[in-house]
Symmetry: C2
Subunit: 212 residues, 2 copies
DNA sequence: GAATAATCTTAATCTGGATTAATAAATGAG
DNA sequence: CTCATTTATTAATCCAGATTAAGATTATTC
């Protein structure tokens, strides 16, 4: 009896162990799409990240807290949003597998976050602490390159998203969102897409009716 | 007679030489606010940049061209803007002394720019070519760190500007622009500020009347 | 310093999207 | 399977900011 139980425990912890490997493998693969890492470097990098499992609706970062980790989504779906004076939510970013989510402003300036980061599905993320990452920049310079490139791309993507948002009608933006993020569209409720697009759910609903 | 002429030529080229030094000094000082550079590194960096003088209204980058330089404003005032389908201008960014201006999307993706970059005053800029910069990242790693940090900051600043733009009324945004960029406000025409804020010049004029 | 161009103001009218409020449909927990 | 909660739709009314059009100031240029 005890033996069976033991086996189950071992088996489940083994499963956990493998799934962590899987998540970290995903991270290393992701990094290697942009930079070159020797196997030794990959190990150093791997060991610098901690895995974290999130339940659906679990909040990873609350407004008011200081964000002190960069986080890579290995599995699942998250959102970053802030609440305005009237307690209305505005979604700033969605993230799925192989994206990075965070309130970067809080992370970089070490000031209290204005955003929440929340899991929309059961998710697995890999986190690295600010100090650990700063040390990693010295130990593995390619990581500094990775984030330099990451931020360059994030910046221009965001700039073009904003230009779009100002120049294009809500209808056009919705259609573009659908083609660009088809997968996200199918995984999150419609009112969140409205929030991301900067329109009310009622108006999105009207748009959709007119498109039919 | 010839002697006098010679003297004038020499004097003016000497003046030019000093002003280049001045611009490059400004650059090095600017970099050293963020990173550490040895004097040898400072020389390497300095030599990687070329100075460029711009007349008022001179266009540095046309939409359609591929941006192939990063550029630092040593003196003067520039703007980056794009034109929509109805040939209306939308200002994306202003830049004054010690700012960097560019169509980063074009620079980073090597695709034709959708933006124009234009001098609003007689200006002096320092330019570094993409390939030179990429080599510099290897020769002087602190430069890679500089741009990593620069892009991080640019990204979060832009993100917060966008959140503001969506959440706040045009009046509030104008008031914030005035306090944040008082100097720019005094150097560029009002209709350009309207364009930057994403409103019509007529509406900005109305806002201003109501504020009095 | 007069003429022309560039910029700014005012006022009337119009519109994309918000707000409010009610109902309907889908999801999920027990 | 059922009741409660979460999402989504519809329709009426409202408003911030756009558009249009004219005139008034302010800069530039010759």
């Amino acid at each position: 009896m005890n033996n069976v139980l033991n086996e189950i425990v071992n088996f489940s912890s083994l499963k956990l162990y493998f799934s962590i490997l899987e998540a970290k493998d995903k991270l290393i693969k992701h990094l290697r799409q942009t930079i070159t890492l020797t196997n030794e470097e990959a190990v150093i990098v791997s060991n610098s990240f901690k895995e974290n499992r999130l339940q659906k609706k679990e909040v990873l970062l609350f407004a008011g807290e200081i964000s002190s980790h960069m986080q890579f989504i290995a599995e699942g779906c998250l959102r970053a949003y802030y609440m305005d004076e009237e307690a209305k939510e505005h979604i700033v970013q969605f993230g799925i597998e192989e994206w990075w989510v965070n309130d970067l402003y809080s992370y970089l300036t070490k000031t209290p976050s204005k955003q929440f980061v929340q899991a929309l599905e059961k998710s697995t993320i890999l986190q690295i602490q600010r100090d650990t990452l700063n040390n990693l920049y010295d130990a593995v310079p390619a990581i500094e390159r990775f984030f330099r490139i990451k931020f360059e791309n994030a910046y221009v993507a965001f700039q073009y998203r904003t230009i779009d948002a100002m120049a294009k009608s809500a209808e056009v933006r919705y259609l573009e969102f659908r083609t660009k993020y088809r997968e996200i569209e199918q995984r999150v409720p419609q009112y969140m897409i409205a929030s991301y697009l900067g329109i009310t759910p009622e108006f999105l609903s009207t748009l959709r009716k007119n498109l039919r």
